[in-house]
Assembly symmetry: C2
Homo-oligomer: 323 residues x 2
């Protein structure tokens, strides 16, 4: 462990991270501001996410896991807009300048940045309790960004991947005696969320609304419903649940986590029924599962259909400051 | 004191802050991302700043003072690029949801946002040790952003306002017995930095380089010198020092703070000698003092001229993680 200075820190660890797939960055790290040249006919979409030691991760969590988790979570917001990722900034507050920690953190961040086509263009490094904020920036075709307010009655509701795994991962971490493939899989799903950026850009042509599942399916779907002034009917049998989660937690619990567990960072989106064939065609060679789990209704609220039985359910999610 | 929930918190305190003077915001707070439509022929400039309780301000500092200080510091980076401010995001980490604190903080933030023409378009609120990151975004005419790498030998060096006041304010806070006008003035200069946004936009037509004085004049000027591959000669007699600082700290100390005190958030910029008349004409009705303090030289390093005597000086500034 050795201490490094602030300028040295930026130069050594953060000056050359990632690449901007859109080619819009004119000037990155090193001046008062970064300079970005917007591509023509594009709109900029931006989102900022914060993770705090003791709130979002346990003290002693591996820096690479922190990096992949916050970067995955932040990029997931770009995916939910159907955006092409471009660049990001990093506000890093550290209790001490530890070169081992910085090496692992910045290497994992660089891997993610390269993989998803985002370039680090600026940031601030300060001393204090470990807190990380990342702001991500992407480009959408003008007027094509996926919002929460466009769902219409009759639209089909889709989700990507499988749900509830992240909650399963969190629970499995808290049971250190748990081992084996299922444990490893859930653990990875928790620490290495895969932002559905490609899926988001494909569905941008068809979807009437989209959101990423960060607070839990019901809570996030409810944001779409409130924003669009509609309701929804969900078929419990259709919820995509991984074999690992099903095996590890059982049917009842895994279903509950699929509905209410947060931080899956899958996409939930709506598509008009008549566009479903086009959607399926567009996704024919796509390597992420997309599952229809229900449809939008004119009546407000969420109905769950379980083996033919219909019941109303309250959306519930995570709230950092419960009232 | 009462606790409020996360969504309520955003809705009550942060949903309708400021206005975007450039009219580029399509969608603000409330979706996965904000959506921005870039004005034609403009480039985006962005900068993020963090302030941490115990590092940048004392525990118990008034929330309004925290808000004006971080917002002033952040906007100062836009000023140093010659940018028109447009919008900002806020990552707010709070130990508890205290409505009195939030009310004061958000009101001061809203005042600053309205005054300088920036709209809050997104953020993240989390629980943890008090930490605030603000990312500001502005627009420059294409290719006209002021950088650090354009200073040429012979260019005149200018600074706005007066230097050293912020350091004086910090020292005066630590002497609670200190009172009176000078104390009040320096205190205000520390807590309410005025980002020189108008000045920045005016000089963008003439300046070859610019930076804001955050680490201290010598340290920040040195960033320009390093970036441009040049040196500088500074006339100590020309350093603009407020009467309040001169009176409170004496000539020797106030001069030292003007050279090395950080966080003045004035602009330091260079202009070709032949454009000085044009600059003066453009500034003829401008209400911020702009003072020529020296000139750029071909030889690296900084020389100080004091009553005809020339001496070399090491640039020194603030470093959060001294090596």
């Amino acid at each position: 462990m050795s201490a490094v200075g602030e300028f040295e820190l930026i130069r050594n660890y953060f000056a050359a991270i990632g690449r901007d797939g859109s080619g819009s960055v004119r000037l990155g790290v090193g001046d008062d501001c970064a300079i970005i040249a917007p591509p023509s006919e594009r709109e900029l979409v931006i989102s900022i996410d914060t993770m705090v030691e003791g709130t979002h991760f346990l003290p002693g969590t591996a820096p690479a896991q922190i990096a992949t988790r916050i970067m995955g979570a932040a990029l997931s917001d770009l995916a939910a807009m159907g955006a092409q990722p471009a660049f990001f900034t990093l506000a890093l507050t550290l209790p001490e300048s530890n070169s081992d920690w910085l090496q692992s953190f910045s290497a994992a961040l660089a891997d993610m940045a390269k993989r998803y086509g985002v370039q680090l263009v600026g940031g601030d490094t300060t001393r204090g309790p470990l807190t990380i904020s990342i702001q991500v920036h992407g480009w959408c075709h003008r007027g094509k960004a996926l919002r929460r307010d466009g769902a219409k009655p009759g639209d089909r509701i889709f989700v990507t991947g499988t749900l509830g795994d992240s909650r399963g991962g969190l629970e499995s971490i808290q049971q250190p005696q748990s081992t084996g493939y299922n444990h490893h899989y859930l653990h990875q799903r928790f620490f290495e969320p895969e932002p559905r950026l490609d899926t988001g850009q494909i569905i941008a042509e068809f979807a009437t609304s989209a959101i990423d599942v960060s607070d839990g399916l019901l809570a996030d779907l409810d944001h779409i419903l409130q924003g669009s002034g509609v309701g929804a009917m969900i078929n419990l049998d259709e919820l995509p649940i991984s074999e690992a989660l099903h095996h590890w937690a059982g049917e009842k619990t895994s279903r509950d986590w699929a509905l209410r567990g947060g931080e899956d960072f899958e996409l939930c989106f709506t598509v008009p029924a008549m566009l479903e064939p086009k959607l399926n065609w567009a996704l024919r060679e796509h390597n992420v599962a997309v599952t229809c789990i229900g449809q939008i209704s004119a009546e407000p609220g969420i109905l769950l259909v379980d083996d033919g039985h219909v019941s109303a359910v309250e959306p519930q999610g995570y709230n950092h400051f419960p009232g």
